[in-house]
Symmetry: C2
Amino acid sequence: MLAPVNSAEISVVERRDRLRLFRTAHIGPVTWRELMDHFGSATDAIAALPDFAGRAGRKRFEVVSETEAEAELERLAALDAKAITLGEPGYPEPLAAIDNPPPFLAVRGHLAHLARTGIAIVGARNASANGRRIAETIATDLASDPAVTVVSGLARGIDAAAHSGAICDGGSTVAAMAGGIDTVYPPENEVLYHDIVAHGAAVSEMPPGLAPRSKHFPRRNRIVSGLSLAVVVIEAARKSGSLITARLAGEQGRPVLAVPGSPLDPRAYGANHLIREGAVLVRDAEDVFEAVRPMLAAETEPPERPATRRPATILDLDVPNDKVRESVVACLSPEPVAVDEIVRRCQLTAPIVRTILLELELAGRLERHPGNRVAAC
Amino acid sequence: MLAPVNSAEISVVERRDRLRLFRTAHIGPVTWRELMDHFGSATDAIAALPDFAGRAGRKRFEVVSETEAEAELERLAALDAKAITLGEPGYPEPLAAIDNPPPFLAVRGHLAHLARTGIAIVGARNASANGRRIAETIATDLASDPAVTVVSGLARGIDAAAHSGAICDGGSTVAAMAGGIDTVYPPENEVLYHDIVAHGAAVSEMPPGLAPRSKHFPRRNRIVSGLSLAVVVIEAARKSGSLITARLAGEQGRPVLAVPGSPLDPRAYGANHLIREGAVLVRDAEDVFEAVRPMLAAETEPPERPATRRPATILDLDVPNDKVRESVVACLSPEPVAVDEIVRRCQLTAPIVRTILLELELAGRLERHPGNRVAAC
């Protein structure tokens, strides 16, 4: 797994600027990383941004202020939360390896839990007593391995049962939160949240105080699966968030494991469906360990990394002319299209296309979608 | 699928002699077919048998008498049961294609049901109400296709639910019986049995009046899967007969489909286990049809058959000398060994080895095992 930028200690100013960059409108995780790969530091990227955005027609481009970012970092410090940016030592490697890793993570609890091998357990909020019991038992048994942490999303039902099961016997758990690091949702999980902070870790990419809205849950889900070597699905209804997590896990190259149920039980729909689609059927922690063991072995091999992480050709340094820019715009529509497809259709080099897409995004004219796809907006 | 002998109308005498051959001690389905392939008719095989057996040290070899076989056929006629031998027109082709097809079948009900595409449904005798409901619903929906018949073993639980479900809405079902064609086991399925005979078919390779013993159930199971294009397993406990049927189905090249259940339900063990081993997870008849559709398409292509079905080299016409015979005997042990392995180790031709094995079997010194394996006894 490749870290997206040099994994190195950074200055207080650079960490603050990385946060400024991430909190700026139109800069999502993918753009953040492109800018970092190109400019090498957030401070340099911020200096260049207004010019970039201006080329795609945006008159005024404002980066979040130093004061705002410093206030957020102070608020986190008051919560005894650590701030860690993508590329710093300690940033979880499996999460760094996904397409759109969070550039910034707030962490409450113990960073050491993020260094363990994550196995996610997710499922229905309205889980049955049996489903919760299965989640709890599997979590307890997985977390009995000191190298493992059970990852979930602090939701009702299966998530809560997984976190509880993991810590009930002294094991480790990590909760990825949809809102800010201090904003527990649902409120009924407040006690569980404090247990997790005391005996594991909670993480969030959102500013403290943010109450989660519906759009934040899929983002949270990508962190749950991103932190994990594999995702176990228990009781997921048709069209549920758990199925979205499973799909994301698949896209991230993380195996999906599923606990089956009777076809007469509507809560079994999702897991049975996933098994039909190729997910491994698991009945207990032993089955889960059996499925992840080959991956654990692969993980211990030292990862191959290029000597220099900063690719020279990711963006084009020349300013693209208007004709070239318009040919890229002509390839865009509200329906997401792959960046590779645009490169092929425009017959331009990849760095030029990426540069133009970046300009358009900063100008608020482009949206990123999973799988390196983009759409006009 | 190859028919084992010429599929042709036969005389009354030949049918009687085929039954005599099959009812004779030490002649199982595999040997029966080797003799038929070699001699071309049961009448000729019976004439040659004492000599064959004598060469392997058996002094007296008695074939079942004409009178006995005729009595069995008369008893079947009195039950209005048809007698059909392997190789006759109307013998079910998928059953003829297994390693050890029954040389003789008694059939009550309508032969036409045996010409339909069989799909087996098997499972626990002590099935739950939910399991029986699933079996019934899948059977009703499968049998709503006029080309399909639902095959099962007339046992308690899932089997009975499958037969009932198939006929409740006017569909077709076939019951393979462990005992004689007139010997209903368990007795509580007497009414169901008569319904099956009225609206489907019951088949048995055993003599009428035979009460089934434990050794007869695995033989029945091979007929259930042998008659079927695929086998659906619902609620099978660890080490259950249904798992044996599933294993046999796999050996016969018939896909195994399984309905999952909660890991907390011990009855789900077998089906979940089979899915982990590669069985297709099915939730309803639609899933079953989806799984068998590619096979149905393959089935409608005309099968390739050699112009002459009788292979010239299956046995060796020369009498093997004692030294050669002893080298084959030396390869045998109580642990089953593959016939191919014996051929390789003895450096003899396959026809000679098969001839010697046949002599030994007729002399009661050899047992046949699945997968073309043999053992000393």
